[in-house]
Symmetry: C2
Subunit: 431 residues, 2 copies
């Protein structure tokens, strides 16, 4: 029974529906793993054994009411929950207790999901590291800002955790922890009850260990009762793109992308090298401007003199950067952003999905959450992105590739990646 916590949500939900396992057994296995590992990994701001088991007993006493019936999930701590404090990773909100659930919590619980607790976020989902360690090597970062969500899923503490991305906050930690992160198209899921960074960028998504679980969660967060997956062509065309930031990729990341391309080619998948429009190399800076401008204004309350001293240095300097930007510069950036979104929409019609680096390499040491250089541009474009772990680097830590596709082609991207998932079950040596 100790392996129950390694099941995917999809497998576990089927087993619960078939009464092969109980939700209580599953939740108990996850709690055991959480309690054992929390002193080392630190993935949780809070969790509640009694609350989780009570919910599991209720599930076991009733027929399945939805796709997540009896399944434990973790919730990033920038999402409001009425049964758990919500601190946004900030000392300003120490002990803060919302009086209501975010919409995504409402959708997850309506589907029968069991909220295990709140997973650690960096301060206001930005760059100030928090307490979480990489479960594969605690002296390394799990990445951020969805640090706890990635670590908890990678460490088999929960099969699914909700996460958010405004730069690289889902994809990067997933790559560093060797799990599957999915950042949807902009505005795919309901934002109610999630603390905003910037409306041009903020995206709710999830971290899991299988793509089936992403398809499951996609339906849950749309409020649907069954899982959908569109057909995928027999011969997938994958555009492999080194991106303008290739020189910032470590050797293990370069090797990972190239070997992943070779691996796909051997499996009747057409892999073609593609280059982004030349001017797209400016989009990383553009992302920085848009994010800094928007995050500063969205945190006007927290930046008030009475609370400013409670901010970490990196957060404070992000806000200060944003306050130096003028509306006219921000509006110019938005104009470029609209142009880039339209241009990418045309560009990506030449292939089914694009394959790019997921991060600069293996997880760095724990003092920083790493660089979102390979993520920000896709977040800015608002397109869906998914990271798939494919190999191990010189430190024995995961390296991953990232798949992206056109705006609102999320279900196709998930279905296409599911086709490739099995090819990378065995991790390639990328050291």
């Amino acid at each position: 029974m100790s392996v129950l916590n390694t099941m995917s949500a999809t497998e576990a939900a089927a087993a619960i529906a078939a009464r092969e396992i109980s939700s209580v057994e599953l939740v108990e296995a996850c709690l055991t793993q959480i309690e054992k590992r929390e002193p080392i990994v630190g993935a949780w701001v809070c969790f509640d054994r009694e609350q989780a088991l009570r919910a599991a007993r209720e599930c076991d006493a009733t027929p399945p009411k939805g796709l997540l019936h009896g399944i434990p999930i973790g919730i990033k701590d920038n999402i409001d929950t009425r049964n758990f404090p919500t601190e946004y990773g900030s000392r300003i909100y120490s002990g803060h207790q919302p009086q209501r659930d975010a919409a995504c919590i409402g959708l997850a619980t309506r589907a029968g999901g069991i909220i295990m607790g709140k997973t650690v976020t960096t301060e206001f989902a930005m760059f100030e590291p928090n307490k979480t360690a990489n479960p594969l090597n605690p002296s390394h970062t799990p990445g951020g800002s969805s640090s706890g969500s990635a670590a908890a899923v990678a460490d088999f503490q929960v099969p699914i955790a909700l996460a958010t991305q405004s730069a690289g906050s889902i994809i990067r930690p997933s790559a560093y922890c060797g799990v599957i992160g999915y950042k949807p198209s902009l505005n795919t899921f309901a934002p109610d009850g999630i603390k905003p960074i910037g409306a041009s960028l903020d995206t709710l998504g999830a971290i899991t260990r299988t793509i089936d679980d992403h398809l499951l969660m996609w339906s849950v967060l749309q409020g649907m009762q069954s899982v959908q997956a569109p057909p995928v062509p027999a011969r997938l065309r994958v555009g492999m793109c080194r991106t303008p930031f290739w020189h910032q990729a470590a050797p293990e990341q370069r090797t990972a992308l190239e070997r992943a391309g070779a691996r796909l080619s051997r499996e009747n998948i057409e892999v073609e090298e593609v280059e982004l429009p030349a001017w797209f190399d400016s989009l990383n800076d553009l992302h920085g401007q848009v994010m800094a401008y928007e995050v500063a204004r969205n945190h006007a309350f927290e930046f008030d003199a009475a609370r400013r001293d409670l901010l970490g240095m990196r957060t404070r300097s992000q806000f200060e950067l944003g306050w130096k930007l003028l509306p006219e510069d921000y509006l110019k950036a938005r104009a470029v952003l609209h142009r880039a979104r339209n241009e990418f929409d045309v560009f990506c019609k030449d292939f089914h999905v694009m394959m790019v680096p997921a991060a600069p390499g293996e997880a760095p040491l724990i003092q920083s959450t790493g660089d979102p250089i390979f993520n920000s541009i896709w977040t800015l474009l608002g397109v869906p992105a998914l990271t798939l772990p494919v190999g191990l680097g010189k430190n024995g830590l995961p390296v991953a590739v990232q798949f992206v596709s056109g705006m609102d082609t999320d279900l196709f991207l998930l279905a296409a990646c599911r086709k490739m998932e099995a090819l990378f079950k065995e991790k390639m040596d990328c050291s």
Copy 2:
């Protein structure tokens, strides 16, 4: 001194800075008007005389710290405030007290603004009427969902009120109450702390009695210290558009648009009749689909069985409508939406601003908040819109025109409208 409450925010801020009037005198005049009129107009969920006067005394004791120094403003009750309950117009949130201020409240108070209280919204900023009456004739609706904001400004209870629009919630009540509503481009102002309806539509804006006050508030909500207004060409080109919904406009509204066009033509303004691309007549239905889909998911928590009975009939039926829509239909609607936004961007390059009806006519009787038919399409396109009262209809109630322009040309729109504002000081007979 009793006329202080009729001053614009811009005039009052200058007078306070010059020590010609005090903030206490201004706030006192507004409070007197609020207290006298509240039993008839019902614009407020709550206001706080002592809190407002305390803030005013603090302003009077210090040099101006920002553009709104000592100026009273009203806040729509779907915006979180830590010093006032925030009920979102819903029985579910009766007495609900947030622990923090929304970002826009942080920005307004940082600029020295005095939060007078919370103005009435329809339930979750949708279609269920609340207690507010039209101050010009209490048997008629003030419009919605920003009912209290429009009524309070029209009734000289405050010079400025914050408001939001996801269909016609700023423009329509402003038109019905004879004040100036400005719905910015999508994502112009920080959304933090405002309860979402749908990310494709939700827009924070303001209602005032002068366009100068909109320019002022624009700077405040961008966190700027001075007011900007771009130059306007000597000869403005105005595209006058009856829209595909012209047959739904009452005679007084048709007369208002046509006479406004004639009025502008006499003033060296080029007025040309323009027609939207034919397929744009489908955008009103598209708006309905996008809004219903998104609002249902954003209110998953409130639609939970435990709370559902506390919803009004119209709100509940909106949610139920949204739950009937499938993700694939929603995604199709988004694709059309993107196409329409791009097409309108090209279309509106032929003129400086477009002039269209603001509402179907005068304010209807109080049983409904009126039809957003002349507003939804602009909200869906995400473009800036401003309503200007131009005449009086057969019931002696205001009729207005609406100006719209391309995405992110907000400051230009405000400056262009300021040029036209004085031409309509004297209201035309449109009965």
